[in-house]
Symmetry: C2
Subunit: 248 residues, 2 copies
Amino acid sequence: MSPTNLPGNATMTEHTMKAFDVDLQELQRLVVEMGGIAEQQIADAVDALNTRDVVLAQRVVSSDATLDALQRELEEKAVLTIARRQPMATDLREIIGALRVSNDLERIGDLAKNIAKRVVALGREFRYPTVMRGVESMSELVLAALKDVLDAFARRDTEQALRVWRGDEAIDAVNNSLFRELLTYMMEDPRNITFCTHLLFCAKNIERMGDHATNIAETVHYMVEGKTLSDERPKGDFTSTTTVPYPG
Amino acid sequence: MSPTNLPGNATMTEHTMKAFDVDLQELQRLVVEMGGIAEQQIADAVDALNTRDVVLAQRVVSSDATLDALQRELEEKAVLTIARRQPMATDLREIIGALRVSNDLERIGDLAKNIAKRVVALGREFRYPTVMRGVESMSELVLAALKDVLDAFARRDTEQALRVWRGDEAIDAVNNSLFRELLTYMMEDPRNITFCTHLLFCAKNIERMGDHATNIAETVHYMVEGKTLSDERPKGDFTSTTTVPYPG
């Protein structure tokens, strides 16, 4: 039997494929929407931190619910697509990829929200412009990494994904130097302790956003190549094992 | 047509159902295995922290890979089950539930690993037994919550899940008082700063493990009831907005 003997069936397959493509596009659209919100959340949270803008900080906190809702929506759509279309191999990886990326974007939103919450605690103090510049430059690196990796996701560009993956070391390096700097300021003057503690957590949150960008890079690689990135990512975050001795 | 006219078909359905049950059991088994490892990782990490046992801490760090691998395995199996069996409604929720729980367990493992890494930084200092007791009692609450919620998951017991969900406030309360205590010690003597900073992060990690236990409680509710827990969980973690003024 040649395929021409089965026009009904052929149309059916075409129809199924088309419906599947529509489903995939919808998942892709949701990832792009979530990515845009996550980027905005990072920028706003760090902006609110730099300018001690409590109103902007509150907005970041309340916007997080949008990201959570989109993630649940994507999860539901992804699972229904798998159940309805029974995709295999590459197609299946496309859906799992969207699921994983949405998970990372949702977690980036949580971290931005946590930074925003700390803006209230920090009050109107403006100490140590160099530390704030460090936080800002770290967040710029993370924002660039996120933009690049979402771009790599959209174009299924493993080369660009790998560049983001390797670039995370630079973010970790800024976090390490910030960690030491903040501990030193705390030792210099105990009145800095509350302020610096909150900044330590903010810096850690930004560093973890970078980790999520590298997770997304790994997902892009998995979607295209069908396997996990084998060699361990060069780790550069040593703050968990860093100690700063008191000079006194 | 009565069903008896379709023995072949009926057998087919029975066969499919049986295969689906086997798949579900396998997912369940993986969740239970991951849960056991996650519990052990928490206990070992806090134990290593209390006794400054670097060897045990290293073991926690290296065991984390097992949890990651199991999570990937569960994800793969879940997706293949959805694609093969096209489950609907309750059956589909069973699979999504297993996926979500495995995600939370994997993140609990990451947090335990981060605590273990800090054991090395803390060295052999034994300061402030009251703080260490606070960390210990918080981790006991979290371990109990995790055991209870995994039990609720295994028995699909929404009542027990809700109890865990509501109990998270107690964990947050311990974390709040620890946060204040640690900041005060840092202000009292700058030589405590590095030590207390690492303990702050450890306490935060334990508090976040508690959040994952409440996530699992929400998943149990979703699996049984088919809808998300509507009222927001009472939040008791105020450390993001806590300030401790320097008394001097």
